[in-house]
């Protein structure tokens, strides 16, 4: 019996030792996994370290990581968005990344987007923001101000056809609505003197935000903007030639090309503010990149893989080609910046605000969506709806 136990123990110890031979496990989505497998082959050839790239649907990665990481069964590296960082870091699941000299190769705002509590938690890869995508056959000249846009809309809108000048997801969808609110000064969270976000300073019902919201309400009331538009409806209208412009992001481009539309990318028209100046709509910036698990047994290895094998022009270019978004890796950005689409997204993106990554953002979306739907349905004035939303957000966050 004692012998049996001895054999079992030896076997288990053997297993544990075997498990210590380093191996990187990466969870990536379907667009990045194939590229990462190529990079991993190169890494394995140079270092002898095995890399396993597990393909997981993008929107599943965060939840599965939260479940798996604390048990020690999780991956070493995940692909994800910068706005996951707050939740993951607050849960103690992410390891800070020490860029060293590599820091200079990355767009400062992209690195900032991945930082939380003064630490960098991600190697940024691609950025994305929304702007106008328009159908060149329907828009003779892209309006530069919202007033011109309204003029153009009054000309071509015909609900019976239907034909609309501008359509965007609003059923409700604050992400696509935010540029209208931010143009004249609306914001989600204000900043503390040290640059961190202050969740109790909510700027969604300030004068600038109300101005944008009023514009939205007026357009719906006048019949210039269809309400309750979902992703599918927006696509159907734009691809069917029933909408001249949409507010959307790089993810719509591939299908726009497939639909045979001669498209252009332009800035969202500026909105005239209370003081008579024109405010540029500021979209949210989203950054995608790579994060290292704090439960990884191979943190140095993971950082080495990311900083010396992924953060190279070859690898970043391969990632870019699978999914063309402005790269956060500056040398790669230089190479692709001649692409007119990338330049056009960047034009709007330079006014963008990184979407807040603090976990308190969870309290914002629902209340904000409710406010948008109340305004779109004409059940409340922008003032009533947004002020109530701000009160609800503050109550949910136990401010004051």
């Amino acid at each position: 019996m004692r012998k049996l136990v001895g054999i079992l123990m030896a076997l288990t110890v053997g297993l544990v030792v075997f498990a210590q031979a380093p191996k990187l496990v990466i969870w990536a989505d379907d667009t990045r996994a194939p590229v990462l497998r190529d990079i991993a082959r190169e890494f394995t050839a140079a270092t002898g370290v095995a890399v396993e790239v597990v393909e997981i649907a993008y929107d599943q990665i965060r939840g599965q990581f939260i479940t798996a990481a604390p048990t020690g069964q999780g991956p070493d590296i995940i692909v994800g968005a910068h706005d996951w960082v707050g939740e993951l870091a607050a849960n103690g699941l992410l390891e800070p990344i020490n860029f060293g000299a590599k820091l200079a190769e990355f767009s400062a705002s992209a690195v900032q987007a991945f930082s939380y509590g003064g630490q960098n938690y991600g190697v940024p890869q691609g950025t994305e923001n929304i702007a106008i995508i328009y159908n060149k056959a329907l828009v003779p000249e892209m309006p530069e101000t919202w007033d011109e846009l309204l003029e153009f809309a009054r000309e071509i809108t015909d609900p019976t056809k239907p034909m609309y000048a501008l359509v965007f997801q609003n059923g409700p969808d604050p992400y696509h609505w935010f540029p209208m609110l931010s143009a004249c000064g609306g914001y989600v969270f204000g900043t503390n003197p040290d640059g961190s976000l202050n969740p109790c300073d909510v700027g969604l019902a300030n004068e600038g935000a109300l101005r944008g919201a009023q514009l939205f309400a007026d357009m719906i009331a006048e019949g210039l903007l269809p309400s309750g538009v979902s992703w599918d409806t927006m696509r159907a209208l734009f691809f069917g030639g029933n909408a001249a412009m949409v507010i959307s992001g790089p993810w719509l481009v591939a299908d726009t090309v497939a639909a045979g539309i001669d498209y252009g990318i332009a800035m969202i028209p500026s909105i005239r503010c209370a003081d008579g100046s024109y405010g540029v709509p500021k979209p949210f910036i989203g950054v995608q990149g790579f994060m290292v698990s704090s439960f990884s047994q191979n943190k140095i290895l993971a950082a080495d893989f990311l900083l010396n094998y992924v953060a190279t022009t070859d690898a970043m270019l391969a990632l870019y080609e699978r999914n063309p978004r402005p790269p956060a890796h500056l040398p790669t950005f230089e190479i692709v910046s001649s692409d007119p689409d990338i330049a056009a997204w960047g034009l709007q993106g330079q006014y963008g605000i990184p979407m807040p990554n603090i976990p308190e953002m969870a309290s914002v979306w629902g209340a904000w969506s409710d406010a948008q739907s109340l305004i779109a349905n004409g059940q409340a004035t922008p003032e009533q709806a947004l002020q109530e939303a701000v009160a609800k957000i503050k109550a949910a966050l136990k401010c004051e």
């Binding site: 849960n91 103690g92 309400s227 080495d304 309290s363 739907s373």
Partner: protein, 516 residues
Amino acid sequence: MNGRSLLTQGLKYGFVALLDAAALWAVIALLFRGDYILLAVLGIGTLLLNFVILSRRAYPLRFLLPGLVFLFAMVVYPIGYTVNVSLTNLQTGNLLTKAQVIAQLEGRYYLPPQPETFTFWAFRNAQGKLALILTASDGRTFLSQGNELVPVDLSDPRFVRGEDGTVTSFDGYTRLTLPEVYQSLGALEALDLRLGEEHVRLTSVREFGTFLRKYQYLPDQDAVLDLETNVTYYAKEGYFTSPDGVRIEPGFQIYVGFRNYLDVLTNPGIRADFTRVFGWTLAWSFLSVFFSFAVGLGFAYLLNDPYVRGRFVYRSLLIIPYAMPAFISALVWAGMFNTDLGVINRVLGDLFGVKVRWLQDPMWARTALIFINVWLTYPYMMIVSLGALQSISQELFEAARVDGATSWQRFWRITMPLLWVSVAPLLIGSFAFTFNNFTIIWLVTAGRPAVLGAATPAGATDILISWTYRLAFEGERGNQLGLASAVSIIIFIIIAVISAVNFRFTRALEDVSRSV
């Protein structure tokens, strides 16, 4: 003993052996992970299985056991788990256990006032022991002895030099090549070398650096001391908290007793919206089940009539809504009900010149939801009713006809009571399912239109479960799983009570039908 029973005996013992081997493997794995609760459950379960298979007396249990195992795994365990979670503060920021948080904090370091970095050569001897030679940026060299770093003079002849002048071996240690360094990174990363007061740790594949420890756990005070600032953080409400209220992230899970339940039951905002949401949930479940049963039974009655031609074709066609994934249908319906662009309003507009504010007006949104749900569920009711109708003996109808009963009377006096016996339990099941049918609500309206002035994010079409979702995931920092579990348990109790009352009610009907 004949060959056949020998074979079955062999199979039986083989099966038991395999099972026990698997269990043993799992037990060892769990032992190493320190998961003692699961270990106990697994151990007891395996012993029970052995007893049942090997003992003659437990023979009948053999056939019940698989069912019981699944009952435990699929019903009892999840409920127990949910109850357990509802007593904790599990939420964003309080995910890890306290031991995990302490381990993580004690592994945090900060840079000393004069940080130093070192390049290194790693060596290994025949016994597999690691040794390191570190070279500081100013050229000083150190050799690791255990966890201490001692200054060393590399001109000492015991250090054998290679062609490029670097040390390749010493005292039986040979230098690792870069791939070998990579293979040993796990061990190198775990090293905690000391140089005086400072810790020297691996910072990248090529460098070590000096650090100072940031936190120390003080078990007697249940607190964490910040060695950099000398502030003590005491364990409080799931966080190590400083006297002036600063919390160290991450926090940890703690048991909070019935606080989540009290939060739900005493929060004035939640109480104010509860009645409205609960009322709509009841109406939604009742009306959905009622109409889908009425429609399903209507079709079933027609299709059961032998005089209807092409019954098979109709039957197949009418089942289509049931065969389509509800996800797709619900999204398609949501599009069709769009006020400005949906096909329903286009048709209504062309025919009658009206524009119904589907999905935007509370009453119309509710109507649309019930309509969609009836569309999705009537085929089920039709199938069930068809089966039940066919089991009713035709003699009863003939006898009734001879007695001069009208078809109306035959339906209400014969068909319905007999149908009711077999269908009623299914209706109760449907009611309970619809009560919690999160999918349809979430895909079509997501609980909207919003209600102006509601204290919590409760929309006009939110049912209890979707409202729970919004309370738990759209509040504070998201993922308030403790609170969500508490509300789930409350909903579970509500449904259990409703179902119990319903079953009582139908049992009474069963007695009536027996006396028909």
